[in-house]
Symmetry: C2
Subunit: 152 residues, 2 copies
Amino acid sequence: MSVLSIQEVSQKYAIKTDTIRYYERIGLMPPVPRKANGNRYFDEALQGWLEMLVCLRRSGISIEALHDYTEMVQAGDKTLMARQNLLEAQRTLLLEKQADLERSLKRLDHKISLYKSGEIRANKSYFEEYKIPETIQLENERKRQFKEKGSL
Amino acid sequence: MSVLSIQEVSQKYAIKTDTIRYYERIGLMPPVPRKANGNRYFDEALQGWLEMLVCLRRSGISIEALHDYTEMVQAGDKTLMARQNLLEAQRTLLLEKQADLERSLKRLDHKISLYKSGEIRANKSYFEEYKIPETIQLENERKRQFKEKGSL
DNA sequence: GCTTGACTTGGAGTGCACTTCAACCAATAT
DNA sequence: ATATTGGTTGAAGTGCACTCCAAGTCAAGC
């Protein structure tokens, strides 16, 4: 339970081994410790780190932000303030995502209710039952037509 | 107000003209009507459609889903049920995203509170202040060592 | 001793969603 | 008349985040 292979953490956190190695390679984790034969092992601290990564990535926090954070953690206490700022910026991004999601859910729910009530068939404009309009004349073409009429 | 150029809708909905043309090309919109010179114009119905696209894309609904929906709308009333199903499936996806977001926000808020309280310096395990462990021995290597000791 | 299976590496390939490009045309401003 | 502005096209390029691959090592089971 306390020390796991790459395979085991992979299953525990539903993330591919390739992705874990990729994350290490690009610096989303501190260097992962190895056994004598070179195989990675994940102690509880690293498992926690990985779980956090998976959680934050799932919600759309960028690789770049996580990379920067990781670097700063490794750089030590002098980056404490910058780390806090980074986390707060990411928090703001998530709150925006949350608002977007809320808006979309409202729209989707409304739309679904129209389907359920059968109203969608009658609802010709807006998003449903779009009718392709004819080609229209240009402003100046219309002007030209008037001119021609006037000059006739 | 009622009929806009590609530039104008682009500004109205904060989406690049290139993206609008791309959306049309791949079938995320019904064919956009043209003026006599070939330029696109967007009536209110199409503007509404575009607004919906932007909203749903922002929340992460896939191009593919929107494509399928668009095709079905153009195919007519026989697809009403399938459309409703598609929308409900997308709704489920958004709810999942919402849950992920909630989880991440909780974690982020917790972490930020640790930074604010100054606790993060002391919080050695878990995600912060990760210390690289030493290389550890393999199970069988340890066994072999015991064997060697035993055979001495 | 040989095969199986989990691991290692660096590098190439994939999928999605744009984004940019080059070459062109049409209308307006000087 | 010419330059500028704003549109058109199809094709190629970009950026992100993986994902796969080939070639190899290592330890265990038969």
